[in-house]
C-alpha cells in the first residue's frame, strides 16, 4: 500500500502552487488518488508558502505529518519544516542555503524564529539552515542537495534562453528531483508538466528540460531509485479539482444565472473559476431543447458585499438562480441582506468559505469559526438553511442542492465550506460527479401567475407560489406584510407571517433525506462517537481506521444540515452513543454548543484546533486518546 506524503515549500510567487500541481498531476497520472493543499500567507510575494500532499491507492481523507519528502526551495522552508520529515524520508534542498541564519530571513515570523533558534540551540546546532539540515540528518532523514544555480545554468544552455528567463524553472528542478527520488518515472513528470502549462509550448519545453536535467543529476549522484508501483486508477477519465472549482462547477450545473461577488480569500477562486466558464456553448441537440445555444452566466464583481448580496437578491427575484460567494468578513456585511432574504422569502445561495477569524484574522488560513455566526446571522428571528459539505464530492452536489432547496423553500441557503477545502485538490472519478443523481427542482416557481397573484399567500406548508418579478403585478418587501406583499403592522397578520416562515423550516426537516441531515459512519455500536461537520470528514474517517489499529472503536456522526437542526435524528443517533467527542476547528466549541442546545447532549470531550491549519488524522487520534483519558478539551496544534 502506497501512502506518500510530501511538502514542497518556498517563497510565495516562487512557483510553489504550480510545483504542487505538477506533483499532484504526476501522481494522478501514475494511478493514485491524491489530496493536496496549499498553505500560504496573505501576501503576494516572498512570504513562506508550501504545498502539502498525499497520494494513496484509496482516497486520502487527510493530510498528515510527518511527510516522506520535503522539497525546500529556500532556507526558510528548511527552517520551517525540518521537524516534519519522518526518519528515512528525504529532504531536497539547495546546499547554497546552508549558511543562511535564521535571523537573516526577513519574511520569517518572529515567533517562529525564536522557537527554531531555541530548538537548534538546545540541540547544540547552529541557528542556520545547516543546523536544521543536521537536525534532520541526525534523525535519519536523507539529505538530497541540489546545486540549483549550476543546474539553472544548464537549463539555460539547453533551452537556449537567458538565465533570467529560465529561473522560474527552479521549482521544476527541485520537484522533478524529488519525485524521481520517490520513484516516479520521468515520463509522468513530463506529462504532468505539459498538462500544467497546456498551451504554453515554450514554458513546457523549458520545464521539461529542467525536469530532465534534475533527474539526470540525482540519478548520477544517488543512483537509480526503486520505481514506485503504479496506482490502481489508470486508464480512466478523471478530474483533479479544488473545492473552489467544484462549487463553481456545481453552480453552473445547477443552472446559476447570476453570481455577484466581491473578491475575498478564499472565495475569489471560486468566482474566478466560474468566470472562466461563464459562457458555455451548448451542443446543437441541447440548444434546440432549451432554445438558446450559448449559456451565459452574469458574473459581476460588485463594489462590496452589501451590493453582492442585494444584487443576488434582485436577480433571484427576477427568476435567476442566483448566488454570491464570500468568506467571514464579507458574510458579516451580508447579515442585513440575509435577514431581508428571510423576511422576503428570496431563494439565494450564499457560499461561505470560512477562514481564520475573528475580523481580518488570518485571511489565507482555515477554520470553522463561522458556524454559529452563520446560523444566527441577520437580526430578528431569521431562520435559514445552513448546510456544510464534508468533502469535494459533497461540495459539488451541495452546490446544486443548495439551489434546489433555496427555490423549494424560498429561503436563503448558506453553503458552509472552508479555506482548506477551497484550496485542497482532490482526484475524482467520473462516477463521483454523477449527473444522474442530480435533479433540478425549482419548487413552486410559476411561469404564469395570472391575475390577483399573491406573493405571500398563506399556505399549509408555509410556501407560496412564486412568480418572477416582471411576470405579475406584485409587491416584495422586507417590511412585515400581508399576503399581497403590502406592508402591515397589524398584530395578527404579523403573527401569521412569522408562523408561515416557521412552517417552512419545519418542512425542510420533513422533506430532506437523512443523508442530507446527518450521517453516521462506522459501527453504530462503537465505543466512542466523534461528531463533526464540514471538511474534517475525511480526516476523521482516516483517523477512525488509525484508532481501530490502536484498539479504539470509533464511529463518526457527520452533521450535514446545521440549520434547521435535525434534532430528532441527531438525538436519536446520539442516544446510543457511549461517549461523545466533538471535533471542530474553532475555539468555543460551536458545534458542541449547538448539539447541547438542540439535543441536550453535552459532549464528553471536545477536540479543537484554532491555529489556522487544517486538522490532521494523527491529531484526531491524539485528541480522542486524550479525551478517552479524561481530558475535557484537547487543543491540537500541528502544522506550520
Amino acid at each position: 500500500m502506497t501512502d506518500l506524503n510530501i511538502i514542497i515549500g518556498g517563497p510565495q510567487g516562487g512557483g510553489i502552487e504550480s510545483a504542487g500541481q505538477i506533483a499532484v498531476k504526476s501522481l494522478v497520472l501514475k494511478g493514485y488518488n491524491i489530496l493536496g493543499s496549499r498553505e500560504y500567507h496573505s501576501n503576494i510575494m516572498g512570504a513562506h508558502s508550501y504545498y502539502h500532499l498525499r497520494a494513496k491507492e484509496d482516497k486520502p481523507g487527510s493530510l498528515t505529518l510527518p511527510v516522506d519528502a520535503l522539497l525546500a526551495l529556500d532556507a526558510e522552508t528548511v527552517l520551517t519544516h525540518y521537524r516534519e520529515v519522518r526518519p528515512g524520508g528525504i529532504v531536497v534542498y539547495d546546499p547554497a542555503v546552508k549558511a543562511t541564519r535564521v535571523d537573516s530571513i526577513q519574511p520569517m515570523a518572529p515567533p517562529l524564529k525564536e522557537r527554531v533558534k531555541k530548538d537548534l540551540e538546545s540541540r547544540g546546532l547552529p541557528t542556520t539552515a545547516e543546523g536544521a539540515l543536521k537536525a534532520m540528518e541526525s534523525e535519519g532523514v536523507k539529505l538530497v542537495g541540489l546545486p540549483l544555480k549550476a543546474m539553472l545554468r544548464k537549463v539555460s544552455e539547453e533551452a537556449k534562453a537567458p538565465i533570467a528567463s529560465v529561473s522560474k524553472t527552479v521549482n521544476t528542478l527541485g520537484l522533478s528531483a524529488m519525485l524521481y527520488m520517490l520513484g516516479v518515472e520521468p515520463g509522468y513528470i513530463e506529462k504532468a508538466i505539459s498538462l500544467q502549462f497546456a498551451g504554453k509550448e515554450k514554458v513546457i519545453r523549458m520545464n521539461v528540460a529542467a525536469a530532465r536535467i534534475a533527474v539526470e543529476y540525482v540519478r548520477e549522484v544517488y543512483g537509480e531509485p526503486e520505481v514506485l508501483p503504479d496506482g490502481p486508477h489508470k486508464g480512466k477519465v478523471r478530474m483533479v479539482a479544488s473545492g473552489n472549482d467544484l462549487v463553481a462547477m456545481g453552480k453552473i450545473v445547477a443552472g446559476v444565472g447570476f453570481l455577484s461577488y466581491y473578491p475575498i480569500t478564499p472565495s475569489s477562486d471560486e468566482a474566478l473559476y466560474l468566470e472562466r466558464h461563464k459562457y458555455v456553448k451548448l451542443d446543437d441537440g441541447m440548444a434546440e431543447k432549451v432554445g438558446y445555444d450559448r449559456l451565459s452566466v452574469v458574473a459581476v464583481q460588485m463594489e462590496d458585499e452589501l451590493a453582492s448580496i442585494n444584487a443576488a437578491i434582485g436577480a433571484a427575484l427576477a427568476g435567476a438562480r442566483s448566488s454570491t460567494t464570500t468568506s467571514g468578513p464579507g458574510y458579516s456585511l451580508m447579515n442585513e441582506g440575509i435577514s431581508l432574504a428571510v423576511e422576503a422569502e428570496v431563494p439565494i445561495v450564499v457560499t461561505l468559505w470560512m477562514r481564520a477569524g475573528p475580523s481580518t484574522g488570518m485571511p489565507t488560513r482555515t477554520g470553522q469559526q463561522d458556524l454559529l455566526h452563520s446560523i444566527f446571522s441577520g437580526h430578528g428571528d431569521a431562520p435559514k438553511i445552513v448546510i456544510a459539505s464534508g468533502d469535494h464530492v459533497e461540495a459539488f452536489y451541495d452546490a446544486i442542492k443548495a439551489f434546489n432547496w433555496a427555490e423549494i423553500f424560498q429561503s436563503p441557503v448558506i453553503h458552509l465550506l472552508d479555506k482548506y477545502l477551497a484550496s485542497a485538490m482532490a482526484s475524482l472519478d467520473r462516477e463521483e460527479l454523477d449527473l444522474s443523481k442530480v435533479v433540478i427542482d425549482r419548487g413552486k416557481l410559476v411561469d404564469n401567475p395570472g391575475e390577483g397573484y399573491l406573493r405571500y399567500k398563506i399556505t399549509e406548508d408555509g410556501i407560496s407560489p412564486r412568480a418572477r418579478i416582471g411576470d405579475a403585478v406584485m409587491y416584495m418587501t422586507g417590511l412585515e406584510h400581508t399576503e399581497d406583499g403590502k406592508a402591515t403592522e397589524d398584530p395578527v397578520a404579523r403573527e401569521q407571517m412569522m408562523f408561515k416562515r416557521e412552517r417552512k423550516m419545519r418542512k425542510v426537516l420533513e422533506v430532506l433525506p437523512e443523508e442530507d441531515k446527518a450521517v453516521l459512519y462506522g459501527d453504530p455500536d462503537a465505543d466512542v462517537t466523534l461528531v463533526s461537520f464540514g471538511s474534517t470528514k475525511g480526516v476523521i474517517l482516516d483517523a477512525m481506521k488509525m484508532l481501530e489499529g490502536k484498539g479504539v472503536k470509533a464511529n463518526f456522526l457527520q452533521i450535514r444540515l446545521l440549520s434547521p437542526f435535525p434534532e430528532d435524528l441527531v438525538a436519536d443517533i446520539l442516544s446510543s452513543a457511549k461517549k461523545v467527542i466533538t471535533v471542530e476547528l474553532n475555539l468555543m466549541g460551536q458545534l458542541a454548543f449547538l448539539l447541547r442546545a438542540h439535543t441536550g447532549v453535552k459532549p464528553d470531550s471536545q477536540v479543537i484546533k484554532v491555529n489556522g491549519r487544517p486538522i490532521y488524522d494523527y491529531e484526531v487520534v491524539e485528541g480522542v486518546l486524550k479525551a478517552l483519558d479524561g481530558a475535557g478539551r484537547v487543543v491540537v496544534s500541528g502544522g506550520s
Binding site: V28, V253, V280, V290, G291, L306, N310, V439, I440, I469
Partner: protein, 307 residues
C-alpha cells in the same frame, strides 16, 4: 398613450404628510409610465427605505422594496437578470447618497440601464427629520439640536463624476415637467439620474416650496447638454460644469448632462457574451426534464485528466 395613469395607481393608502412633495413625484411617475405605455407587470419600481421608498407600494408594478440604501444593487440584479424590464429606483437622499453612497457611485461606473429618481428633501423624513447629505451647512431645521455642520453634497455633480450618462434635475411640484424628464430618463439606455427637489413640509422648514420657487429655473433652449461624440464632450463641458455646479441663489432644472456615446452595461455584457440578451438569466431554461443541461466532464475540460 394606450394607458391611463390610473392603471398604475395601486390600491393602497398613500401615507405621506399633506403637502409632501412626494405626491408630485408619484404623479409624475404615474404619468410617465402611462405615456411610455409600460405594462405594469413589466415595470419594476425598486424602493429604498424612507418616506420616498414607499413609492413601491403606490405604483402598480412588479415592485421590490429594498433595504435602506440598497435599492441600486437590488435593481442591478433585477435588471441584469431580466434586461427587458423597465427598472426605476425611487429613493431618498439619505438612502441613495448617505447609506447607499457607495452603490450610487458604482452604478455610474456600470451604466446599467436603470433610472434613479432621488427624492431630495434634504432631511431624513421617515426617521423624523435628521439632516440628510443634501442639507447645506449651518442650516438648522426643526429636528436638529444644533446647526448642521456637514456640507451638502451636490447630487448632480456626484452623478456626473460617477459616470451616469443622463443627469437631470426636477422639482416635485412641477409634475408635467418632471414627467417629461422621467420619460426621457427611462428611454435613455444607461444609468440615468434625476435629482428631484422635494419639499418636506413636515421637517424641512427651511427649504420650503417658497425657498425653491425663489431659486429654481429651467435651463433654456440654448443650453445643450447632449454629448454625441468625444469632441462634443470637450466643447460642451464648460457650460455643463457650470450648470452642474450651480446650486444656491439659482438652481437649474432640466436635463443637465446627457452622454449618448456609451454602451449600457447590458450591451457590454452582450458584447463579451453574445446571446446573453436573448436568453437572460431570469427567464432562460436551466433544465430539461428536471436534469441539468451541462455535463462537468464536457465543460470543465481544464480539470480533466486522462490517466
Amino acid at each position: 398613450m394606450a394607458r391611463s395613469w390610473l392603471e398604475y395607481k395601486a390600491p393602497a393608502w398613500v401615507q405621506w404628510c399633506p403637502g409632501c412633495g412626494d405626491f408630485g413625484i408619484l404623479n409624475a411617475i404615474y404619468r410617465a409610465v402611462a405615456e411610455l405605455d409600460i405594462p405594469p407587470e413589466r415595470l419594476v419600481v425598486v424602493g429604498g427605505i424612507g418616506c420616498s421608498g414607499r413609492t413601491t407600494f403606490y405604483v402598480k408594478g412588479s415592485n421590490a422594496h429594498a433595504l435602506h440604501g440598497r435599492a441600486i444593487p437590488m435593481a442591478t440584479g433585477i435588471k441584469l437578470a431580466r434586461p427587458e424590464l423597465t427598472v426605476i429606483v425611487a429613493g431618498g437622499d439619505g438612502d441613495l447618497l448617505g447609506i447607499g453612497g457607495g452603490h450610487f457611485v458604482a452604478l455610474g461606473r456600470r451604466n446599467v440601464d436603470i433610472t434613479v429618481i432621488l427624492f431630495d428633501n434634504a432631511v431624513y423624513g421617515l426617521t423624523k427629520g435628521q439632516a440628510a447629505p443634501t442639507l447645506p451647512a449651518w442650516i438648522k431645521t426643526k429636528a436638529l439640536t444644533s446647526p448642521n455642520i456637514h456640507d451638502n453634497v451636490n447630487p448632480v455633480l456626484l452623478a456626473f463624476s460617477a459616470g451616469y450618462t443622463f443627469v437631470a434635475r426636477g422639482y416635485a411640484y412641477h409634475t408635467s415637467q418632471l414627467k417629461e424628464l422621467i420619460k426621457t430618463a427611462v428611454r435613455h439606455k444607461g444609468a440615468s439620474f434625476i435629482d428631484v427637489l422635494q419639499p418636506c413640509p413636515t421637517y424641512n422648514n427651511v427649504m420650503t416650496n417658497k425657498w425653491y420657487e425663489e431659486r429654481i429655473y429651467y435651463v433654456g433652449e440654448d443650453y445643450d447638454p447632449i454629448i454625441r461624440t468625444r469632441e462634443d464632450f470637450k466643447e460642451k463641458l464648460p457650460a455643463i460644469m457650470e450648470k452642474l455646479l450651480e446650486f444656491g441663489d439659482r438652481i437649474p432644472l432640466g436635463i443637465l448632462y446627457w452622454d449618448q456615446t456609451k454602451d449600457s452595461f447590458e450591451e457590454r455584457l452582450e458584447k463579451i457574451m453574445p446571446g446573453y440578451m436573448q436568453a437572460p438569466p431570469g427567464t432562460r431554461r436551466i433544465s430539461v426534464d428536471g436534469r441539468p443541461i451541462v455535463d462537468p466532464f464536457e465543460v470543465f475540460k481544464d480539470r480533466v485528466i486522462v490517466t
